[in-house]
Symmetry: C2
Subunit: 224 residues, 2 copies
């Protein structure tokens, strides 16, 4: 009996401009040498505590990024997904602000729109689709999208992030009420973003209690 090929893949998501982007890398060996694919690789039992550890290691070694938010997405398996044989990939997804990409991503990282991932090798298109669906579902009733924002941000910025992730506009008043209720944000005293020819916006930061934890709502932010 052939051994099962065990790997871990990571869907690293960020917002660039007005769209969600995935981080891809050119594969450095066969199969699909040179083709853009999700960062991933074999599990190293001697080195990795568990698959989450594998994901952290791969993200760090291959993209240079350490993501505060990293969650298991699911496991993809079967005979057909890898030409080398029956394989099993535990997929994770990570969310980072674009500032982290700019400051610490390796030069090999390529950002691609999540809407243009049809041609990825293996079943990576399916994995990206699952990550996208998970992020959208979770975003509609949680504080998940704050992890796509930098350390400090304004409410209009955060709302724009939610709108990019959910793909539809949100009522401003309702959005602010919801953020207020969640009690996850705190204004940074005296800090404003002066941008353009208009009233400056209050800068907020995530309250420390929620650095690692999500806040959940009873009702969807944007019932469709």
């Amino acid at each position: 009996m052939r051994a099962i090929i065990c790997s871990v893949d990571v869907v690293l998501l960020t917002i660039e401009g007005d769209a969600l982007k995935v981080a891809l890398l050119e594969r450095d060996h066969d199969p699909f040498l040179g083709v853009l694919a999700l960062p991933g690789g074999f599990i190293h039992p001697e080195e990795d505590q568990d698959t989450q550890g594998s994901a952290v290691r791969m993200l760090r070694d291959k993209t240079g990024i350490v993501s505060p938010y990293l969650e298991q997405l699911g496991t993809f398996s079967g005979r057909g997904r890898d030409p080398r044989g029956w394989s099993l990939a535990v997929a994770y997804y990570a969310l980072v602000p674009s500032s982290v990409i700019e400051s610490s991503a390796s030069a090999a990282v390529r950002l691609r729109s999540t809407s243009a991932t049809q041609s990825l090798p293996f079943d990576h298109a399916q994995i990206v689709a699952a990550a996208l669906k998970r992020v959208q579902d979770k975003s509609s009733y949680s504080s998940l999208p704050v992890h796509l924002c930098a350390d400090s941000f304004t409410l209009p910025e955060l709302q724009a992030v939610y709108e990019v992730v959910l793909g539809e506009p949100i009522n401003k008043v309702s959005f602010r009420r919801k953020m207020e209720e969640l009690e996850i944000l705190e204004p940074i005293p005296g800090a404003f973003q002066a941008g353009g020819a208009h009233r400056p916006a209050q800068l907020y930061r995530l309250r420390s209690k929620f650095r690692k934890k999500l806040a959940l709502t009873d009702r969807a932010l944007n019932p469709s």
Copy 2:
């Protein structure tokens, strides 16, 4: 390098009396020979299409049950969880009505209350806890619990199932309104359940469109 031990475990849940129960089996080999544990076993790449296929096979062969609802829960991995070495278990959960257990479960199946699974071997207690949490989360905004009901059931019965799963009472009027809105049920013409000394209840069945698909609500059934 040692190969990774790849297995699949299934959390089979049902309602018996007023409580959620898990199906357990006595282990037939070491480690933990004779100890009650989740149904599970090694992935057979020659035989299984993918891990979902492994889960179906194990459920069928070890418990005699074929569950219409079977969903991946997550993957549990690491050095410590199995005394034989670094291992990886893809966990699934299944929901079946108690009638299915009664009619087709193998005699070896033991039902245990989900609140008494602290002493399970490996990390099975953690897997059961994750399954329970998943089922509760999903039940609060979907039609998931109908899979714990037999083919035909009354609305009070279904409400009782929701209440067992969620662990708290639900407003009757709201519950009925929600079920109405979801449009997942249809009354069985002329079929009533005559039970006791009171008005008989209309029997309903799941509309065929929702046999395999869940219906989702925007708002939690029971905001707490």
